[in-house]
Symmetry: C2
Subunit: 574 residues, 2 copies
């Protein structure tokens, strides 16, 4: 297990009392209804987590992370507020995973730092669990968890929940929707899906099962809203394969494809294209290698074996026109293969004339600037670069409006709640249906034979992980980090003569502040020194620190319109 | 003049010797050719500045700023490297402005901090100069500059340059292209343009003049590449007006339009729409009010007078269906009217049902996340929101491919250099022409009767302004700011007994670092204290500081994988 300072801490973050009442408190009334609370992913993209309570028993569907915006410095991932879960730790009967994307499973390894997971089985399909197992074992966490594999079509009893799994298609293999039957009614949670009518692994979206559930009656549908603003039907993966082959077959030089490495359908397509076009595949980047390795053992999709691949170190033996390099970094993540290669910083990959770079992806909002910068660098090197908008070489994994309507038609729910999306997506999804309720993270809704009502709405503070430590915004000092970056820090060293109660001297040292070889500091030392002389006789150490800090901040503000963070220390001399 | 610490400093940033030779050094050979050097805006979007040298005489075309990416904390604007200009201050004969956008004129007020501008006339059209004058007077800088108004069609002698001005159309009124005739040949710099064949102010794009210049012969064309990747012709502003009217005429409640406030064409259109639809206009936000005020006095476009407007304080007297609010904040700038209103933080504007918000703009790359967040908040409040992609309510100000081809056809240059764009745009623009040269900021090209050659290419360090102080990355400690935000700061107070040369005590105080009520610091104090005991007798104060800092960083890294910035102070005690 990676050293995680704070990992042994008890949970002391307080849960809002308005959420605590319906979600945590022991209360006889709770057994009369099913409570549903999105802790993440509803009203935002990412960190999906849905909590279901029936009486004193809880299940969680999905447990994901999201990534911070560019201006949130010092944070690597964001995850749902875990304080609620900590408070009900011993009543959580299962964590159910719909598929293996990080925004659905990525928080499990962090949950382990705040919760005791030993009594909580984690349910998922073979591929989903294999990915999770791989990740947990990297962090030395495997021994603390119980993974229970399910298959589409399975039904599992988790009293009082009866949980059945329905095959859906998406951009990663082995995905399921979840049907929860409870004494209060039936809820279907779609997970992420699109309807690919001809999936490359032959694992078909199970319309029959969904229609059958609809025939029996569905009280509530929770359905993926990511593409609810987009009309039409998502491009099938088969068409993407054709688009990629058109580009690759007609190119005389080397081809480099960058993609979301969890999309094994696409890697399968590229493998077939390589075979047909007499190219040898090279997988570059740990992430794409990991997904292929896990996929080989768990899913029925033809993927390149080790013997079908060429190691990057031997790539120079292969003529350019026989190379097909598949790599990570489509979002220009700074340390990714593609980003490093574009900056000329990758040992084994540099770009030049004769190279074709296919960006088989979309630009995730927030990454546009750095992706553009990376593409400019690739072009500067002389390579050609084709983006997913310029040719049919990418497809979204999320249902568009016609597919969403199909899902509604199949399940015919009494009530529908759009999930997995920003507010505007939820709104557009809601417009496709009747009997809709829009809620967001921090809501609690109640399902009973009388129908559905919203019983709470509260702001949920997310948790943060800085790469090492998990904590609240306050614990990780997120706001102070930003203040440090904007305003810099001034360390103030005050020397006094305590026996006579007089000020003697003051020294200022700064970091992250305008630097003019100390002239500004010297000016401020003099100005503050004058004000402190004769003013300090009545002060204790804390008052003195406070006073000196205030004077220093004021003098900086007067001169450079910035109030640095101050740290004051008092020295005694005689 | 706003207090600017450092404003009186001499320029000490060194200019790269490779650029200094062709651009700065006295050299008889220079008189045999025209040297052209982009200091900004070529290979990037923003901070446009082009330097022309003929013998010992220089002119500058445009002088703009750009805005930092979201992850560059502590910087408000970025501008071209001013060190070169400082070195040739007394030889700059003019600064020529093509139009009044901030990425073309915004650096003038900052130039004044590093250069003596008193002997350098600044040439521009009436509206451009009125905007500049307004801005300079806000900062108390008006007295130091000479503004010389020109009109399209004018020719001005700035020995050895003959400068003539050609009317072009764009998204701000009163724009010109610049033709520089020199002993070495003729150069046309288009400035920013699109070809709006029916401009709302009747100021037509001067095709005849450009064709005539082409007939006489053009040696070099420098042309706007912003939309070079987009096929077709830009939507005319007249069509935008129709699109806006369609939305507004059919809406029963209040309408709020957000736009780039320099687009007075659009404000004119909205004013006419308001009149036809019996609505009263309210201008919200300093920026939109300033542009309208300056525009009323300088351009021939019908704009609302004070009597045509309603003050926001009296808006509650006007029925909702008669209100048309025009406001700033289309890019969700945090302190803008629209952003504050969306967060419920604006005193005079809140959103609710019955409101229609028209986003008459595009999303500038890098702003997408915050714009989406803002729109979600507007929708949450119950308002309807229409973005420029959903209806024809916005048009770009920059020529698309067909217009760019027209510019090339009119001027028929012997050589063409695409400017004003990221590298990928330059490349796409280059594909429209023959005899093309792609260069980027930091290049120097030479035009002589023998043709065009590139004679230097150097990385140019930009300058930064933090809201108060102008300086290089180093002077403003940009890298250290980021380190502070990522890693926090640890202030280490070491007490020694200098007479005996022994370590006595160590205290650590942190900011922006994981906070566990001091337990982590205490652990590290003990670990470092142990290592320092008996180790320090030979060290002087600087060695001691260095040693203690190294130990503290190492102990933090071992525990929380973070090496904080350290500031060490040594106290003497006995």
């Amino acid at each position: 297990m990676r050293a995680g300072f704070g990992s042994a801490r008890t949970v002391d973050s307080s849960v809002s009392p308005r959420l605590a009442a319906p979600m945590i408190a022991d209360n006889a009334k709770q057994s009369q209804s099913l409570h549903i609370a999105p802790l993440g992913g509803v009203g935002e993209i990412g960190m999906n987590m849905m909590l279901f309570r029936c009486g004193e028993d809880y299940v969680i569907v999905d447990s994901g992370i999201r990534f911070p915006d560019a201006n949130m410095i010092g944070v690597e991932v964001i995850l749902p507020n875990l304080a609620i879960l900590a408070a009900i730790n011993d009543k959580i009967r299962a964590i159910i995973l719909t598929h293996g994307h990080e925004d659905h499973i990525g928080a499990i390894r962090l949950l382990a730092q705040r919760l005791d997971l030993r009594q909580i089985p984690i349910l998922g399909t073979a591929f989903t669990l294999a990915l999770l197992r791989h990740r947990l074992s990297e962090e030395g966490l495997s021994s603390g968890v119980t993974l229970e594999q399910i298959r589409p079509g399975d039904t599992v009893e988790i009293e009082p929940f009866t949980v059945s799994f329905v095959r859906v298609t998406h951009s990663i293999p082995d995905c399921v929707a979840v049907c929860l039957d409870t004494p209060m009614g039936r809820v279907i949670h779609t997970g992420d899906f699109k309807i690919d009518v001809n999936p490359l692994d032959g694992e078909h979206f199970d319309e029959d099962k969904l229609r059958a559930l609809g025939d029996e009656g569905v009280d509530l549908l929770l359905s993926d809203s990511t593409n609810a603003s987009v009309p039409g039907w998502t491009r099938p993966e088969e068409e993407v394969a054709a688009g990629l082959e058109e580009q690759i077959a007609s190119w005389k030089g080397r081809v480099i494809v960058s993609l979301f490495s969890s999309n094994l359908y696409r890697i399968h397509s590229l493998f077939k294209i390589a075979q047909r076009n007499k190219r040898i595949m090279c997988l570059l980047g740990r992430s794409v290698q990991r997904y292929v390795a896990v996929g080989r053992e768990t899913i029925g999709l033809e993927l390149p074996a080790e013997k079908d691949l060429v190691d990057v170190k031997k790539l120079h033996h292969v003529p350019s026109h026989q190379q097909l390099i598949v790599c990570t970094g489509s979002q220009a993540e700074p340390r990714s293969v593609l980003a490093r290669a574009s900056r000329g910083e990758h040992r084994d990959l540099t770009f030049g004339e004769g190279d074709l770079v296919l960006m088989s992806c979309r630009k995730i909002p927030g990454n546009e600037r750095r992706i553009h910068r990376m593409i400019n660098d690739i072009l500067r090197a002389g390579a050609k670069c084709v983006f997913g908008k310029q040719a049919p070489i990418h497809a979204s994994g999320h249902a568009r409006q016609d597919e969403l309507t199909r899902m509604l038609d199949l399940t015919r729910p009494k009530c529908f709640i759009p999930v997995h999306g920003e507010y505007s997506f939820l709104l557009d999804h809601a417009n496709l249906a009747e009997q809709v309720k829009i809620i967001e993270d921090g809501s609690v809704i109640s399902l009973s034979p009388q129908g559905i009502t919203q019983i709470a709405q509260e702001q949920l503070e997310p948790f943060f992980h800085d790469g090492n430590t998990l904590g609240t915004s306050d614990e990780l000092r997120i706001a102070e980090k930003k203040r440090l970056a904007w305003n810099g820090v001034a360390v103030v060293d005050v020397t006094i003569d305590p026996s006579r109660g007089i000020f003697l001297d003051l020294k200022i040292e700064t970091r992250g502040l305008f630097n003019d070889e100390g002239r500004l500091c010297k000016e401020i030392e003099e100005a503050v020194g004058k004000q402190m002389s004769g003013q300090i006789s009545d002060m204790d150490v804390e008052e003195l620190k406070h006073y000196a800090g205030m004077l220093v901040r004021r003098e900086f503000r007067n001169r450079i319109q910035r109030k640095p963070v101050t740290v004051v220390q008092i020295q005694a001399a005689t």
